[in-house]
């Protein structure tokens, strides 16, 4: 490794994580520095060969409009100021000392990929799954197993957030309606073999405390050949609920209208049903050796928008359980971590130590900064806050010398790391689009995803791997 320590050179920043948070941070930083007449070099690393984080590996395949956000992010990466370097894992392939040696500042934007824990007995029984794992499977994440057990006719989904709705919809939707998406062939085949007839979604609070968004909820009512069922006894009419509803925002009011509409809608007799239950708090997943059912305690609303148990026990016979009770961030090597919240402790984006003192040059943004809540758009305003802090901390007229820009690539090569680049991603992107075009199915497919890491890396690095 050659070092050329020149006294003054442009700011160099590494961003770890090429999800929306990392890309918006890079773009906002590049624009702010350019507007100030300065210069900045930005390297954007991801442990995956492809960029876009949860937009590629979280957003449901039947939401192509949302995936359209990628077009905006593509432009940002294509502009040339941000250098994408994929297939490089922070903590394994590069450590903090490497980044400190090559960059003046590091922004961690590593998101959250694991399921939060649901601490009820039986949650580890065979047939009980985390939503994040299922999402990784249907979205073709390279590190997820290719097979998924879909043998249940009755399924419980625990949680009342949008991920629960994604999971329930993907389980309930007839496979023919998923064909126009980018799902890989093994996922379509897996779903096509599912014998499911009833998917039950359970919220521990009431219908006015759901964490869905209005469009996601309404969409359930439009799934072809699936009836949505809600139950009158789950709709509290007590004074607390009426008062909370009156004081709620537009989104809650719109969702309440949607749910109330379903209360009076006659089922069509469709072969699959999606049931929404409220005021059901999970107590236990039961079964002899595998999931046979879930036990809930009925709850009732309290004055503060919470609930308390009523003691009434309700059992549902199901053969599979999916918990969609939130995600959780993962600690990064040599970076402080708040175990309780699953985030990097920070002050408006500046990483802080256990005493709350900022660690110079280290920043966080996105889900690893705030926790796993909020939409893609919210990572943009969040990135603005972090970048503003970073710019307060650095003098744009010049920074102490760092190795020249390609030294980091030489280091990766030296370590035998088969990193991918932006032009490599463009090759994978073109390849996936070509697969979509060549697909023999009768519907138009814009893209078919390539799943295996080696295959993606091979295409990106233009090595002649035979497609599997």
């Amino acid at each position: 490794m050659t070092r050329t320590p020149t006294a003054h050179q442009p700011l160099r920043v590494a961003i770890i994580g090429a999800g929306p948070a990392g890309i918006y941070a890079g773009n906002i930083l590049a624009r702010a520095v350019q507007d100030a007449g300065g210069e900045v070099g930005i390297d954007l690393f991801d442990s995956l060969p492809a960029p876009y984080g949860l937009i590629r590996y979280g957003v449901a395949p039947d939401h192509p409009r949302i995936k359209g956000i990628v077009n905006s992010l593509h432009e940002m990466l294509d502009a040339g100021t941000i250098r994408f370097i994929g297939n490089v894992d922070y903590g394994t392939d590069l450590d903090l000392a490497d980044l400190r040696a090559h960059y003046h500042a590091v922004i961690f934007a590593t998101g959250a990929i694991r399921d939060a824990v649901l601490g009820v007995p039986g949650i580890d029984l065979p047939g009980s799954h985390g939503a994040a794992d299922f999402v990784s499977w249907f979205d073709g994440h390279p590190d997820a197993p290719r097979e998924w057990p879909l043998d249940a006719t009755d399924i419980a989904v625990i949680g009342n957030g949008n991920v629960a709705l994604d999971v329930a919809r993907m389980l309930a939707k007839h496979p023919v309606d998923l064909l126009p998406t980018d799902i890989p062939a093994n996922v379509h085949a897996g779903l096509a073999g599912s014998p499911v007839t009833d998917v039950h979604v359970f919220g521990r609070r009431g219908p006015a405390q759901v964490k869905f968004t209005p469009i996601e909820l309404r969409e359930l009512g439009d799934i072809p050949n699936v009836d949505v069922l809600v139950y009158g006894e789950d709709f509290p009419r007590d004074e607390h609920s009426e008062r909370l509803l009156a004081a709620s925002n537009n989104q809650v009011k719109v969702m309440t209208r949607t749910l109330n509409g379903w209360l009076t809608r006659e089922p069509t007799g469709a072969p699959r049903r999606l049931h929404l239950h409220f005021l059901h708090s999970p107590v236990e997943v039961y079964g002899a050796g595998r999931v046979e059912g879930v036990r809930f305690e009925r709850t009732e609303p309290t004055a503060d928008g919470g609930v308390r148990g009523t003691g009434e026990i309700l059992d549902y016979s199901v053969q599979a359980v999916y918990r969609a009770v939130g995600y959780r961030g993962t600690a990064l090597a040599r970076v402080p971590f708040d175990e309780a919240r699953g985030v990097i402790p920070n002050d408006g984006g500046r990483v802080v130590d256990a005493q709350g003192a900022p660690l110079p040059g280290l920043y966080a943004t996105g889900w690893i900064k705030r926790g796993p809540v909020g939409l893609i758009g919210h990572t943009k305003s969040d990135a603005l806050e972090t970048v503003t802090k970073l710019l307060e901390d650095f003098d744009l007229t010049g920074q102490p010398g760092r190795p020249e820009e390609d030294a980091i690539l030489a280091l990766l090569d030296e370590r035998g790391i088969r990193f991918t680049t932006w032009s490599g991603w463009l090759a994978v992107d073109a390849h996936e689009r070509a697969l979509g075009e060549a697909d023999p199915s009768p519907v138009t497919r814009e893209r078919v995803k390539v799943v295996p890491r080696d295959e993606q890396v091979g295409i990106a690095r233009a090595e002649s791997l035979v497609s599997s």
Binding site: I66, I215, N250, Q251, G377, K380
Partner: protein, 92 residues
């Protein structure tokens, strides 16, 4: 607008306008709108139907600029908005 992932909320002289084709219906702008003036098109209350029309027509001449950062603040409004008395806040 700091929340819009595709930067499709354009600023006119007196109102904000959401580009109907560029918008991806992600919902990020709804909870942050200080006056709760953003609705999904099917949910726009009856009494605001005119504003919905103004919002769509605002882009008749602009086409699809591909991001509000490219146009900056626009010095005009849709006639329906321009005709409003001064203090009324119009929602996009």
């Amino acid at each position: 607008m700091d929340e819009c992932p595709v930067d499709c909320i354009y600023e006119g002289d007196r109102s904000l306008y959401i580009h109907p084709d560029e918008c991806v219906d992600c919902g990020a702008c709804e909870p942050v709108c200080p006056v709760e003036a953003i609705y999904y098109e099917d949910d726009v209350p009856e009494q605001w139907a005119e504003y919905y029309k103004a919002n769509v027509e605002f882009f008749d001449d602009l086409g699809s600029p591909g991001g509000a950062a490219r146009t900056g603040v626009l010095a005009f409004d849709h006639p329906i908005i321009s005709a409003l008395p001064p203090q009324v806040v119009a929602g996009a």
